[in-house]
Symmetry: C2
Subunit: 341 residues, 2 copies
DNA sequence: GTGAAAGCGCTAACAA
DNA sequence: TTGTTAGCGCTTTCAC
């Protein structure tokens, strides 16, 4: 049972061993065409392939068919805890369907286009993008090049590409309603970057939810990134320019934790002085001090669904929906409390 | 400037446009062989390639050369915060050298072998493994198949494959020395799974460090995985079977947080009643209550170095070292305090 | 310094 | 139902 040396056994070897022609082997080993083969030959071929340890050379098949059974995934920052579960969902779907996944970190958005071009040279069958900015020219490029693509986490507002997203407006409504329901009135928002679809949608969600309750937005500051440092800076700015709000709805957990940092530095207590809410329910935010009230997203499902949509498109099945919107849910912890006037 | 439709422009088109033979184009566009080409022709070919938007078809090159400029990475769980920075390091190295990275989550270790086989069919040039168990038969399989491979994070004790790891024994020594130096004497260990190299090395590190200080190991319990739940169970077990220690050195941050859970449930305070140390310095452990004293690893560098070693091997450069050991460092926070008595 | 030609391993018309 | 044949796009030996 010694394993043959690299690239030993090819389809020709199997054909030879089975006493049939290579094309017969090819058919026998292709699930879609094995119906054309007689029981007897099928058995012989499979036995030979098994015995020789035959593994079809994907590069050769790719060259011939133009399909590689690989996809690319572009994420902005894999160390951001939002993305690993999304990737896991994508990978689980891919693995179940016999695809491999190229993962790339797109550190600088200007690098996205060359990365996509390299992926096209690599002949990936499609890409999942977790990096779209608003009005991203990359999407036009992909369409023009005929590359199959699905967005995840961030939607394309102009609907050029299918997307799987969480309902950001609903998410913020859940946060605002929780705060209003527990007696908060002066509610502020730490908004995300406004060149990213999620940043815009969440801000609109907060504003709409407050309007629905007949309340004004007490104050607002914009973070230049979804990071703890940006959150801290924005919180400082907000406190410098406005009366202190009773609660701050944050666009993201990291930003909320940055707000914690700034409040702690100023000797203000959460939630006694200010209630804080986050968004994402990152790992460990249940263990910070105080445990963060936040919005939980079905990240893994986001990735899974996006990948399934992409494979449907690649394999020519009808696309059921162009944009899939998943429901987030509120997780109440101890960074929010009841206000009684 | 309309982008050509998928798979439009090939090396033949460029040759035609430049008025030379395809083989000349191939040479001109290959950095290693362009020395053979005259200035003049080089210029013409490059201009034509540029103008037509030529991108070499990697699948075709792969079939011809047997090299794909892709590598595979196997991680046990991408949602474990240890791995994203490692992946980032790998990806940064790969990207700089023109490689793409297939990432797969190996949920069940029994799936590792078939995944590696699929990767071999995909003709990856090598693999980085973050999943080796002790005496893993997978390593023999890889060697026998002639697949280039480098281990990361977990070393192979029998030295079958090169590896890049952190010094686990030193890490535990740093923790123990810190505790002894701050007056702790009754020191216990929450050990990692003993079928994983890191679990064994860290336990040995704790035992050795205590021996060096002339102290006994006050108590020990083994976790069946590197998870918060396992940490909690092990902590419960430890408290049930032994007198309460003054400090517990944990094999990992998640396990340490599980210990927090159990202690809190019993009304015990960290660090007043028991000091706790972790390992990894995961994101946010500086924000938990109390902020965790732990060991910081150069995760990104671990990944980077492993990838560089793999590329050196793939590209036939001499391997400088078979096992690279990086230095961890102690990060003191508030889960440990001085004991006076 | 450049061209000619063969062939990597596979799949898919087409023929029988 | 099976075999024959051509060729996917590229690299590389060999010849000039």
């Amino acid at each position: 049972m010694s394993t043959p040396s690299p690239q030993a056994v090819t389809i020709r070897d199997v054909a030879h061993a089975a006493g049939v022609h290579v094309s017969t082997v090819s058919r026998a080993l292709n699930p879609e065409r094995r119906g054309l083969i007689s029981e007897e030959v099928l058995r012989v071929v499979e036995e030979a392939a098994q015995r020789l340890g035959y593994r079809p050379n994907r590069a050769a098949a790719a060259l011939r068919t133009g399909r590689t059974r690989t996809i690319g995934v572009l994420v902005p920052d894999i160390t951001n805890a939002v993305f690993p579960p999304i990737l896991q969902g994508i990978e689980a779907s891919a693995s179940a369907r016999g695809y491999f996944v190229f993962v790339t970190n797109v550190v600088d958005h200007a690098l996205a286009r060359p990365i996509v071009e390299r992926m096209m040279a690599q002949k990936v069958d499609g890409v999942v993008l977790a990096i779209a900015t608003r009005d991203d020219p990359l999407l036009d490029f992909l369409r023009q090049a005929g590359m199959k693509a699905v967005l995840v986490n961030r939607a394309d507002e102009s609907g050029r590409l299918p997307a799987v997203v969480s309902d950001d407006r609903l998410a913020m409504k859940l946060a605002v309603d929780h705060l209003v329901g527990t007696g908060h009135r002066r509610i502020a928002h730490l908004a995300g970057p406004q060149d990213v679809p999620t940043g815009v949608a969440r801000r609109q969600g907060v504003e709409q939810a407050l309007r629905d309750r007949g309340l004004p937005l007490a104050a607002e500051a914009e973070c230049d990134s979804y990071s703890r440092e940006a959150g801290r800076r924005a919180m400082a700015q907000l406190l410098a320019q406005h009366d202190r709000p009773e609660a701050v709805v944050c666009c993201n957990d990291l930003v909320a934790l940055g707000a914690y940092d700034e409040l702690r530095a100023r000797g203000l207590r959460v939630p006694q002085d200010i209630s804080i809410t986050g968004h994402n329910d990152m790992p460990l935010v249940d263990m910070v001090d105080p445990p963060l009230t936040t919005i939980r997203l079905p990240h893994r499902e986001l990735g899974w669904r996006a990948a399934e949509m992409l494979f449907d498109e690649i394999e020519g099945r009808a696309l059921s929906a162009s944009t899939v919107v998943l429901r987030p849910e509120l997780v109440v912890r101890e960074s929010t409390c009841a206000r009684t006037g």
